[in-house]
Point group: C2
Chain length 334, copies 2
DNA sequence: CCCTTCTGGTTTATCGTTAATCCGCCACGA
DNA sequence: TCGTGGCGGATTAACGATAAACCAGAAGGG
């Protein structure tokens, strides 16, 4: 491995001069600079980032730690990456693994210290894990659960979004709307907020939400939703609308309905949450709550960059707005 | 920041002893070990990974560098992550950015050196970029294009998969099958291989592939496919089958067909490639080529671990098998 | 009684950078 | 003529850890 001191010797200058030429942090005379660059070229020198990081105390890298690389998180990551790069830093993704041992690894203080800043999606985390995360480092939490006040935090307007979607279903004539994936007992996750929005919409419409229509899911996959909706249909529970807590679950519901010959939106109307790219193209098009990915990303990056710049401004807890995108899975306005 | 030397002083031992206690690399007497651990606890010491990396020459981290965080790549990442963790290392994802400047960043030698090993998806890379990547570091290339022999390389059986899907369409009665996303002129990407498989299937069935049915796409998104298929329909070009080079494009095709009242699979049969999770749930279920994600991941990890272990075995170029998953978008066997 | 071996620990020498200082030189104004 | 102030560059001293060599003392063998 060729080091900076090799280059310095070759160019007949000190290491600091080489460093200054490469980083541009101090002015270096033209002829000297040329000699250094020539030496770099001829030796094929490449800076050792690890050494730079140790000495400089920066890694110029930001991590986004998510429970899965799919769907919602991929969308967010795609939006955050260019913003971070615009700030001269690099974004990497890490996954909080399913298995508990590696989970602690990702969230361990030493690993977090490897980054200038961290976006941490709290979806899969339990309270203990969150408590162990130091608030000293620049960290912005993303996600729906309640978090300690000592963190910056960006979340969607889950209640509002769920209310929008449900109100839309009601307005278009649905009267018995499943809350697919809503949790029955109050929890701290998005499923509870979105269920609350579902209930609110009913009350605002002068209706009483029927708790029997809340269908909980073990995980928010298409498969689980497919299974759950299939069972509701088999049980003969009547319903004419489905609000799925995310689009992936909506796909599962759509499949279950279609398989049994239930027409969407004629017999059952369907709305989801997340507005994934593909939701627009899945016939008949899934009506969905758009989380405003760009706003989420921009807000999160703003908070993190401020923290990385050393600000000790009070922590912010931001709720970003959402909007409803109407598609073929709900009936057109009359 | 509390360092190892603080701990050493507190415990009344040398730094090396602290290091040995924490890494377990050498035996340390019971009472001494206890004193060290107590000091670690009371000071709240956490190892500095950057310093360890500099000294030890390992980062215990592996990177997966992909052009996008979506779909196929998310699936692969989900499979690779646990395998890498089983080897005691960490997986991080990086994206080769759209914009050229940061693209070079991700692939620069210094950044690659940050990792013990790298999986590099070559989908978005041009030849020059690949040439600049050093073959000295442990690198395994993933993806469809031809790559220099100096790299280990894992690719799918694209030709075989496309042939399977197309043969299936022909066998079920389709006679004019669009190659959606196939490139007309031979390129080095997957689109060219998959188009070749499409043509092979025709010849094997005693048919002549009609080049007019090859519909190229600017990018392999649902949106582009939706647009392209819509135009083919508007032009009145007759067809009764679609082989889409990936499932995302298949969704776009399905949307375009459905919007115009063309029934799938009765009037047009449809098959895709990638077998995404959601493909199973998009009515009527997308027939798709399954890339065997587990095999791809296992193979790639095997190659990389061998390389990280220092082996100088000859480079391998592995093509992994695929299989067809039949669903409702093609007609049932008669 | 001396020599080897083992155990548990310390010392020394870096890993490859960069922040902070320092230094010699020339130019310039009073 | 002498201070004053850049400018270009070299020196010094870490950043926080670990590999390798070294060493004191106890134990065991002939």
């Amino acid at each position: 491995m060729v080091t900076m001191s090799d280059v310095a010797r070759e160019a007949g200058v000190s290491m600091m001069t080489v460093s200054n030429v490469l980083t541009g942090r101090k002015r270096v005379g033209e002829p000297t600079r040329d000699r250094v660059l020539a030496a770099v070229e001829s030796l094929g020198y490449e800076v050792n980032l690890t050494a730079r990081h140790l000495r400089a105390g920066r890694t110029d890298t930001v991590a986004l730690i998510v429970p899965s690389f799919h769907d919602y998180f991929a969308e967010v990551a795609d939006r955050i990456a260019p913003l971070i790069e615009a700030g001269g830093r690099h974004l990497v993704l890490e996954r909080t693994s399913a298995d508990a041992r590696s989970e602690m690894e990702s969230l361990s203080v030493p690993r977090l210290q490897m980054y200038d800043g961290v976006f941490l999606s709290v979806a899969g985390l339990d309270g203990d894990e969150l408590d162990r995360v130091p608030a000293s480092a620049p960290i912005v939490l993303l996600g729906e659960r309640e978090v300690p006040a000592r963190f910056d935090h960006v979340r969607l307007d889950n209640v509002g979004g769920a209310r929008l979607a449900t109100a839309h279903l009601l307005e278009r004539g649905a009267r018995r709307v499943l809350a697919l994936g809503g949790s029955v007992e109050p929890s701290t996750g998005m499923e509870s907020d979105r269920r609350a929005g579902w209930a609110e919409a009913h009350r605002e419409a002068g209706l009483t939400p029927d708790e029997d229509l809340v269908v909980s899911l073990d995980d928010f996959t298409a498969e689980a939703a497919h299974h759950a909706v299939g069972r509701v249909l088999d049980d003969g529970v009547p319903f004419d609308g489905v609000f799925a807590v995310n689009d992936t679950a909506a796909f599962g519901a759509l499949a279950a309905l279609t398989e049994r010959g239930v027409s969407v939106p004629d017999q059952v109307q369907l709305a989801g949450f997340d507005n994934l790219d593909v939701s627009r193209f899945v016939p008949p098009g899934i009506t969905s709550v758009d989380p405003g990915y760009d706003v989420v990303a921009a807000t999160a990056v703003r908070l993190l960059e401020r923290r990385m710049a050393g600000s000790d401004a009070p922590r912010e807890h931001v709720t970003t707005p959402v909007r409803l995108v109407e598609r073929g899975s709900t009936r057109p306005d009359v």
